[in-house]
């Protein structure tokens, strides 16, 4: 009888200790989750800013201006365009 009681007491103590550790573990992981979520949000914001920046730099108006004014590019006149027909199935 006493032996069983002692055994149960041991189990009880173990359970109690594991509760404490798992509780601690849960809080620790929660803090980590928290941090990662904040980071995900941060990245989300950064992605928005970067896509905004990409879009702004790549505005067709800006590209055209640079092509025309700095690189002195111009559209070819029809006389300077040759259309080459590649037969279907020819090398890519």
């Amino acid at each position: 009888m006493t032996r069983v009681s002692l055994l149960l007491l041991g189990v009880l103590v173990l359970c109690a200790l594991s509760l404490v550790t798992s509780r601690h573990e849960a809080r620790r992981s929660f803090v980590e989750l928290e941090r990662e979520q904040a980071r995900a949000h941060q990245y989300d914001v950064e992605y928005g800013q970067l896509s905004l920046e990409a879009s702004t730099w790549g505005t067709p108006a800006r590209v055209e201006k640079i092509a025309r004014e700095q690189l002195h590019m111009q559209l070819p006149t029809p006389a300077r365009i040759a259309i080459v027909d590649v037969p279907a199935g020819a090398a890519r």
């Binding site: 929660f30 949000h41 896509s51 505005t59 040759a82 259309i83």
Partner: protein
Amino acid sequence: MSAAAMGRARAGRKAPVAELPRLRALMVFGGLALLFVVLLLRSLDLQWLENGFLQGQGAARFSRELELPAHRGRIVDRNGTALAVSTPVKSLWVFPDKVEATPGQLKELAHVLEAAPRALATRLHGADEFTYLARRLSPDTAQRAMAIGIKGLNEQNEYRRYYPDGDVTAQIIGFTGDRDRGQEGIELSQQAWLGGTPGSRRVIIDRRGEAVEDVAAIRAPQAGRDLALSIDSRIQYLAFRELKAAVDRSKAKAGSIVVIDARTGEILALANLPTYNPNSRDKVTRNRMRNRALTDTFEPGSVMKPFTIAAALEAHKITPDTVIHTEAGQMTIGPNTIHDAHRAGPLTVAQVIQKSSNVGAAKIALSLPAKTMWNMFTEAGFGTPPQTGFPGEAGGRLRAPNTWRPIEQATMAYGHGLSVTLVQLARAYTIFADGGELKPVELLKTDGPVAGVPVIKPETAREIRHMLELVVQPGGTAPEAQVPGYRVGGKTGTARKVAGGAYERKYVADFVGIAPMSNPRLIVAVMIDEPSTGDYYGGSVAGPVFSNVVGAALRMMNVPTDAPVDNVLLPAKDGGVKEES
């Protein structure tokens, strides 16, 4: 041990202890009891009377309600290029009477905020209620301002929406107002999809102020979803640029252009002038914000003729080669007379379209019952809004056929006495482009083929396409609309505007075209409102816009050419055909 001995022993031990006087014992007992009563009352007080307050105070020390921000979805074009993006910004606010700052700190703040020190001082001393010192700063700037360490200076998170393409896409996308809620355009109509709902959560914090555990009842934030439009920002820019060039050239009051994918009905570009910059719209009038192509109706003029001809072809009243006598360019119906811009003599049906003869179209129309024409116009989508979901889209005006007088039926044949929007017009031309089906018009990106509603027979569509191609040939009304390398076709319109019930000498020049003819991919509709340089013909004002946009857009879309690049044939000087209506 005997009882007597025990008695003795007790008495013996007891003897030296002085017996407490009865009164004193009672007093001590009473005092102690009183203390217990006090304790009991106090605990009652804590447990019941002040329980709520205390629990609240306790919670305030270890639990926090955190707001979870939800940001608005982005709007992107069909290729994923951002058209509208929200990014977090910060605003600085103060209660002026709570601010403690040295003059040096204020100077530094003014420097960081790039504000005049005096203006800043006025703001700080002007009012004694909540005041914004600066709104919508970049997070960097706000951080530097906060780093100065002025007591009483607070920051607040906000979102600001940016539109990288600015005035090019302004009227389609619209803009957001207070709290980043949609106020115009797609931003308004798609508010439910784009807008997020901020969430909140209650957490337990540890002594370092870090959240360690969620307490129940989390309201998850609903972030706004991204939205892909059918717009292609490159074609959009192209359309905008060419429209602007044409409006400037003809000194017009306004203009619109719509580019539709002939296969899916998606709007690839839609631009309006005048326009505005959605990123800074302090002094923008409603006039500039209107999406004219969807909300403004006008009398379209001759661009309606193909529908009249199609109705007659379907009713087997004519064939493309039937000869119509145009009566020396004049025709009298009751008290009214209608005119052609020039006399042409007898014309085939195809030439009625090519040379845009009003008399020819009127004669064909009068050979049909009003109901037949009305059916054709209605099935092509005129008179009902095109269901794009855009706020304020108009449906134009198409009266019931039983109210048509013969003169009205005649003028409707060439696009007067009814009104349409430019988007309706572009959409209606899908019946000629894709085997006779009317496609639903769509502002959002769609995947895969779209089922249309059959309106005319594919042969009729082909015959009309052939006539439209004649329009851009020498001898037609719009040789300016030709495109190097591609076979194209379209119809011009030059309509006089109505003001106060009478026609004025002010014009609308329009052109609706299809390209390439061998396998239609694009429909482009151009409308120039009140060209005022003397040249007001659809062919010469709106035609070049069509030509430039189609040429560049087809190249961009990698559509194979279906004609040699030297296919453009211009008529001899002054040999062109002009039209009016």
